[in-house]
């Protein structure tokens, strides 16, 4: 399983940016993560030399789970044979930890893999789960096939965890259960933990949230705002994309680089090829491209007629490019107002929009979160998905179990060795 740190071509645009080496320009605050800007940190992530050594050997297995028996899958998703989770196991009795990926990320995304490796090295069994916002989860594990409601998504995750556990419990010895998630997965972890208090299948001993959103609606809005800074706003993101791409390629050709490699990407950063607004715009655009996958998959699975004509059955050789263009031009608010909220309004008559928005927040379960000692939070001073006051809210909610790093943007420092060591220590 030496191939875990794979770089799927899909994410090349970001992935290539993630690997750039950087000068250590750490401020004098005893924290060694080097990138000061929140947007730059988010895009560049952690320089490889500041990541921990991967374990010499890791026993892993891919789990393909049948979470919703009898689920009909349209031919376009012919390759989807079940929910894909990665299972890393020790050969002795050990605690088992479930990891929930962030928005749009699979069970093998680089971030969740880094977390898995660190925890594995510290002696944990690990099962990683894809985010409920991925196509794989929507197709194979979501009861409603409509992601976005924290309570329902948590129930889907919980069911997936139970089935995963069922799959592996004959092969390993487990001493206790833990739970961890990052970004959207962190917020979901809180709701999964709450459900566990009723269902008691795992009795999670500790739950760690890394860079959580406090309110989904607010955080999504803050990322959407990044696209407002581009000329013409989000509706003109195609023009923006093409302009950034030509800047990228001109820069390459002027610089006489060998290939699109670390050196080239490092130069993009040091030469400040993209302005702050443009860097923010690229984050917003990446987010939209992710969101498009979620919207399209959900629409195909529910036959709602949102972006794909109702009753059209897409085959495995049908073009999807126009759907890509259309879906990536929809904002979170379009999805929320035209698709998500109407669905829940139908199911729960009398549900106001505000009440629904309020339910998609940690505040809706704050009584529970405050009363339980099992939670911990790690986030960054400059994580831009948190609104003014939300950082203080987290501090107030979790007290000294809140760890706030001075920089790192949104998830930029997740793979930094000190961050991963602190994550492991939390569970010890």
């Amino acid at each position: 399983m030496s191939k875990l740190q794979h770089s799927v071509k899909l994410l090349l645009f970001i992935a290539c940016l993630l690997l750039a080496p950087l000068p250590s320009s750490a401020a004098d605050d005893g924290y060694g993560y080097p990138i000061p800007g929140s947007y730059e940190a988010t895009i560049l992530g952690t320089p490889p030399e500041l990541m921990p050594e991967p374990p010499a050997k890791m026993l892993t297995r891919l789990l393909v789970l049948d979470v919703v028996p009898g689920r009909q899958k349209p031919p376009i998703f012919f390759y989807d044979e079940g929910l894909r989770c990665t299972f890393a196991y020790q050969e002795k009795k050990a605690p088992l930890i479930f990891l929930i990926a962030g928005a749009g990320a699979s069970d093998r995304s680089p971030k969740i893999t880094a977390m898995m490796m660190s925890l594995y090295q510290a002696g944990f069994h690990v099962i990683t789960l894809p985010s409920p916002s991925t196509a794989n989860f929507i197709v194979s594990a979501s009861q409603s096939r409509i992601p976005g409601d924290l309570t329902e998504d948590a129930a889907d995750l919980y069911r997936a965890m139970e089935i995963a556990w069922d799959h592996v419990k004959g092969d390993i010895e487990v001493s206790s259960f833990y739970l961890c998630g990052y970004s959207l997965g962190a917020t979901q972890a809180a709701f999964v933990a709450k459900l566990d208090e009723e269902r008691r299948a795992f009795n999670f001993r500790k739950v760690l949230m890394i860079n959580p959103a406090v309110s989904l609606y607010s955080s999504a809005g803050r990322i959407e705002d990044l696209l407002k800074q581009i000329p013409g706003g989000a509706k003109k993101q195609g023009i923006f994309f093409n302009r950034m791409l030509s800047k990228f390629s001109q820069f390459y050709r002027r610089g006489n680089f060998v290939s699109i490699n670390d050196e080239f990407l490092y130069a993009i950063y040091t030469e400040k090829l993209f302005s702050r607004e443009e860097t923010g715009g690229l984050i917003g655009l990446t987010y939209r491209i992710n969101l498009a996958g979620m919207i399209f998959s959900s629409d195909v699975m529910t036959n709602s007629g949102y972006v794909v004509p109702k009753n059209r059955v897409l085959g495995s050789t049908d073009s999807t490019f126009d759907y890509f263009l259309v879906s990536s031009h929809l904002s979170f608010f379009d999805y929320f107002n035209e698709y998500l909220y109407p669905h829940f309004q139908k199911l729960r008559p009398g549900l106001t929009k505000q009440a629904f928005i309020d339910s998609l927040s940690l505040r809706s379960i704050e009584g529970y979160l405050k009363s339980s000692a099992k939670f911990g939070v790690m986030t960054n001073e400059n994580d831009f998905i948190l609104a003014k006051g939300e950082l203080d809210y987290l501090r107030q909610l979790f007290g000294e179990r809140t760890k706030v790093y001075p920089r790192g943007g949104h998830l930029g420092n997740l793979e930094y060795k000190e961050n991963l060591a602190n994550m492991v220590n939390f569970f010890k």
């Binding site: 071509k9 994410l11 699979s106 993101q237 399209f296 009753n311 059955v313 999807t320 759907y323």
Partner: protein, 261 residues
Amino acid sequence: MNSTRYRTCLPFLALMLSLFLAGCAAHSVNSQDEVPPMHSISQFKDQRFAEVADPWERFNRSMYRFNFYFDKYLFLPVVKSYEFITPTFVQERVSGFYNNIGEVQNFTNSLFQLKGKESVTTLARFVTNSTVGLGGLFDPATSFGLERHDQDFGKTLGYWGADSGPYLVLPIFGPSSLRDAGGLAVDSGIYYGIYTAIDPFGNSDDAFAIGSVITALDTVDTRHQQSFRYYESGYPFEYDIVRFFYHEKREIESGKYIPAE
């Protein structure tokens, strides 16, 4: 001998049949009338982006799917067995050996592009690694500051202004273009020509068998070095995005150097 061959053929036949049937199924189910969606391309008022000319999309998508199955049922199991039985140290030496042979292609193509400095670097790399690096098993050249320049005839054509032509997904090789597929044929021809001229195993009675083993190991090593897995991203527009990245990376890397104004 015959029965093993038969056994390897069988999954193939099954595979082809299932592909054929899946293709049929995709087009036969359409009983209800379609209703236009809430958001469609007709309302689209922005520049199109990440688009690549793909007139043979149905064929390409079939190939993409074929490669997925080929990987799943044959290629990756073989690669995994290879990784399982071979110590990592040996795997790295094998990769080094083939990567060093690949320098010949890098060299011929940097010559074709009249890139003097790059040709010299590549030649120096090849000589260093073939001698000090024990036939490419090790790569001391990189530590001497000689950087690898990956070149191929597709890039050469691109460098001299040939358009990429339509996107093309090749069986087993994967994403390509009309131009790059032609380039691949030329590079393979040159490689074969050199191999025949040198005829390293000409004295052996088993020249053909040795040649086959070398080619087979090359194929396995190439896939071993490539971490891409079809449909693993789980992103429903993976085909579109892979197409875009392949095309753009080739365009950028084969482009001419533009001096700063």
